[in-house]
């Protein structure tokens, strides 16, 4: 059975993830998604314990804040203590993840959280998550509203100051000498990436969310020579992978988020073979 709600949700998740992914790939910060996706676990646990319900906005808030905290921690360790980005990423997110697992184990029984659903997500349950039931917004599942909000936030963040995002992504030191508030823009970007990860991983899990973020952007980079085109192609590829993956999942009866990432990965591989002379050094 094809569910319109699942299809639309995954389409929006894929599109939002690919926007953040475009900037992460360009700035060699791809692994950050993985770090955020794992490190938000303690935030989820704390949020859950405080809210005592799975759909409370408090959980999102705590998780997203933890994601942002982790990114900033990685950044500070690198900047002020001169720890390699790779090393500080590995240190910070594994510690946070371990802390989260500890929380789940200690409080998991009465918290209805389990590690499986955190790692693999549950896209097919999306239509049944309706905390807004009874209100006029009930015609679409909560996840759709989340993703629409996120899309709106991306638009507000990127559209008015698009040239600045270009300048910062290309040459952050030059942007700084221009007097642009680089640090603020960085935090804004990372906050949205963090929020995007939190809201996506409920559906697709902590591991596959990285594929949603990075694969379309990395594929697009192989084909374009302007950032505008990269972003547009990245969004298009994300949408195509979501639809293609959903149809494939329905056809051979698999979990849709898995097939979506597989389709996305196939696009990347084909592009790489086609382009031969690769410009990509994802790091």
């Amino acid at each position: 059975m094809i569910s319109a709600a699942v299809l639309i949700t995954s389409l929006l998740i894929a599109i939002n993830a690919s926007i953040g992914g475009t900037f992460l790939v360009l700035r060699r910060m791809g692994m950050l998604t993985d770090a955020i996706a794992h490190a938000i676990l303690p935030g989820l646990v704390i949020g859950y314990l405080l809210a005592e319900s799975r759909s409370s906005p408090l959980i999102t808030l705590f998780a997203a804040a933890t994601g942002l905290l982790v990114t900033l921690l990685i950044y500070w360790l690198n900047k002020y203590l001169n720890v390699w980005v790779e090393a500080s990423t590995g240190m910070v997110y594994t510690s946070f993840f371990a802390l989260g697992i500890l929380g789940v184990t200690l409080f998991g029984e009465n918290a209805d959280l389990d590690t499986d659903c955190i790692l693999y997500g549950e896209l097919l349950w999306i239509p049944f998550r309706r905390p807004l039931s009874g209100t006029f917004l009930d015609f679409a599942p909560w996840a759709v509203w989340q993703q629409l909000m996120l899309l709106g936030l991306w638009a507000i963040l990127l559209l008015p100051s698009w040239p600045i995002w270009k300048s910062i992504s290309f040459d952050i030191d030059f942007a700084r000498t221009q007097g642009l508030n680089v640090e603020r823009k960085n935090v804004q970007l990372l906050a949205l990436v963090s929020l995007s990860t939190v809201w996506s991983f409920e559906a697709v899990g902590a591991i596959l969310v990285m594929g949603f973020m990075l694969l379309p952007a990395a594929t697009a980079w192989l084909w374009v020579k302007r950032l505008e085109h990269m972003l547009a192609l990245s969004i298009a590829l994300a949408a195509l992978s979501a639809i293609g993956g959903y149809v494939l999942a329905w056809w051979i009866n698999l979990d849709p988020s898995t097939t979506m990432v597989l389709v996305s990965g196939t696009f990347f591989l084909l592009s790489l073979l086609w382009q031969r002379k690769s410009t990509l050094r994802v790091g």
Binding site: P163, D173, F174, R176, T177, K225, R226, L227, T279
Partner: protein, 264 residues
Amino acid sequence: MKIEPIVDVHNLTAGYRRRPAIWNLDFQIQEGKFTGILGPNGSGKSTLLKCLLGQITPYTGYAHLWGQKVDRVRHRIAYVPQKESVDWNFPATVLDVVLMGRYRPGRFWQRLGKKDKEAALYWLEQTGMNHLANRQIGQLSGGQRQRVFLARALAREPSLLFLDEPFAGVDAGSAERILHMLKLLIEQGKSIVMVHHDLVSAGKILDDAILLNTRLVASGPVSEVFNHENLSATYGSDLSILSDVIDLVTRNPGRFKDPRNQKS
């Protein structure tokens, strides 16, 4: 009438992670001059440049531009970084990069207009890069990359231009073009501060020099500060090239004027 210095550095100590790379610098740079920051590797040239650009905060002292903090005069300066400092695989065309010089902070809606594009195209033409405007930047040679960076800086129409070793790894044709542009700027009354490596060319092209070896060795007109004592204090005394440089400067004073004869 006393001339206000364009750059005023006083008791400046700065570095990274509490380890100073430059100590107690005191010097001034005059308006309208082509000034070089010279010194061996590890002498703190880049640290000094970062202080002047406000990229790092000094431990003691200050580096003022036009008597103010750099944050208040950013619209009047521009910067040409080393071309190795960015990833040239970035998806942008030559024109995109030059347009990046046009952004100014402050407004909410910060899209660029027709005027900005015209200015960018003008500076591309001036640097001899207009035929490459739509090329992806990764396909440029080293010299062309440096010219794109120069065009991006000049698109800001600065009164004071900072450059970080603009001639490193640049072919002769591009180097000549860049030098020509810099000389034009000086003729138009702009000021240039450049971190530079090559002593021989420094003697030919610069007005003033700041000799640096973690501490200030000397600063002033090239014809005055380029002597054996200063250069060996900067670079160490065993450089045979030093005497050649001094010869060159004393034999070809070129456009250097004795500051004592200058009217002000």
